[in-house]
Amino acid sequence: MFGKGLLQGLGITLKRMVGPNITEFYPEQKPNLPIRVRSSMGLQKDKCISCNMCAMACPNGVIKLTSEKGENNKKVLKSYHMDVGRCLFCGMCTEVCPTKALTVTQEYENAVYEPVDLKWDMIERAERKGKVE
């Protein structure tokens, strides 16, 4: 029948119209992210052995860390910086980490106003996060 498709289309849009919306009201309602989402990095300072393998594995040279020798000649992490502006969140650094000190986390509100704010001081972030929670 001529025009059957038109009526079918009208029916479908009407069904969508009266049906439920799938909009998430984001700032008020936080989304449930899929478990595979990689959107941020987190560091547990006391687990880190300063082996520098994360910095070696990083394809973009994002990670810069320094360490100093502590008691009984063990390396102690002194500073840990990430240039997130260049980070892909590929997760290779976390895969290579022998003690799983560095992990991919699911924080996603990472927008900043100034480019300097993209240089993350991971130790400071870890301490701040501990304070908030």
């Binding site: 038109l6 009208l10 849009t13 009407l14 969508r16 799938i22 909009t23």
Partner: protein, 355 residues
């Protein structure tokens, strides 16, 4: 029961009572000055109707667009986003008013005004309720269609005045489309005119007291709705403006409130077209007595407006050659056939009834 009936009568005739009250201020309630005052008030009411309709319809359109694609539409400003249009209007007011270099300044500036004033002129002959036509014109339908066809000139003026080749092409295409669709539009109404023997919209509404003409003229109604949608340049026939593809057809060079006037005029034209459809085919203010006539009228017009939005967000845009084919090869023969069938029907009816 008596009091309820009285109350219904009062609500039904509310505007007539107000009219009589205003007229009672004059020594002679039907003097020239009283008539003049009433004309001014009627005019203001029509303008308010158009502005309100545009404010509500623009938001409603975005809401319908959202709902059809499972979104919720504007939802930030005011309760569930219902004040969004006001913010949009203020944003338009704040924009710079540009006139392109080398533009035909007079035409450029007068075109949006013409577009915006046309729905006011055309809504002036629509009977909004029993005895509520701002102007009770005997040639109502002819006047209405003549006024709406002026907008073709205004679109061409906008396209020509912009000094932009794309605007000019857009304007010419718009004119071609609107002229083509005017013919089936006029012919589809002719069936109703043949039945009622009158061009007066008030008489046409009175004639539908027992049965609305959509039942007697289903083909005419379908042709009218399709041609009407093309006439007010709404999707799927908005290939001149085509928000998603070309910039805005003849309105490319317009900014700020001038562009806003086009937008307002588009929604005003849509209101006027659905008001005419409700008057001619759906019985206007006629309806069961539990609601006043003017509410029935706006409900019917609202249903047609909603249908137009529903269609807009369902169908893809038609191609320009298909558009012309559709007007001249499908709608025009169908509307002429409708006229012949109506004539035949009237003839047989007279033969049977012996009138």
């Amino acid at each position: 029961m008596e009091t309820i009936n009285n109350l219904m009568m009062t609500i039904n005739n509310l505007f007539l009572i107000i009219t009589a009250f205003i007229r009672s201020f004059f020594a002679d309630p039907h003097s020239l000055w009283a008539n003049l005052t009433m004309y001014v008030i009627n005019f203001i009411i029509v303008v308010v109707i158009i502005v309100l309709a545009a404010l509500i319809l623009i938001l409603l359109e975005r809401k319908v667009a959202g709902w059809t694609s499972q979104r919720s539409g504007p939802n930030r400003l005011g309760p569930r986003g219902w004040f969004q249009t006001i913010a949009d209007a203020i944003k338009l007011l704040g924009k710079e008013d540009l006139t392109p270099a080398g533009a035909d300044k007079f035409m450029f500036k007068v075109a949006p005004m013409i577009i915006f004033s046309l729905p006011m002129l055309s809504l002036a002959v629509i009977p909004f309720g029993k005895g509520l036509a701002p102007i009770n014109l005997d040639l109502g339908i002819i006047y209405y269609l003549a006024i709406t066809s002026i907008s073709t000139v205004a679109f061409l003026m906008a396209g020509w005045g912009s000094n932009n080749k794309y605007a000019l092409i857009g304007g010419m295409r718009e004119v071609a489309q609107m002229i083509s669709y005017e013919i089936p539009l006029l012919f589809s109404v002719l069936g109703v005119v043949m039945i009622t023997q009158s061009f007066n919209l008030g008489v046409i509404v009175e004639a539908q007291s027992s049965i609305p003409f959509i039942v007697l003229q289903p083909l005419g109604f379908v042709i009218f709705i399709i041609a009407g949608m093309a006439e007010v340049n709404r999707a799927p026939f908005d290939l001149v403006e085509a928000d998603q593809e070309v910039v805005a057809g003849p309105f490319v060079e317009y900014t700020g409130l001038r562009w806003g006037l086009f937008f307002l005029g588009e929604y005003g034209n849509m209101t006027a077209m659905s008001a005419l459809a409700a008057t001619v085919f759906l019985g206007g203010w006629q309806g069961p007595g539990f609601l006043p006539g003017w509410i029935w009228f706006w409900m019917k017009a609202g249903i047609i407006i909603f249908f137009m939005m529903w269609v807009r967000w369902t169908f893809p845009r038609i191609r320009i050659d298909h558009l012309m084919h559709f007007a001249w090869k499908v709608l025009l023969p169908l509307s002429i056939a409708n006229i012949f069938l109506t004539g035949l029907g009237i003839y047989i009816y007279r033969l049977v009834m012996g009138g």
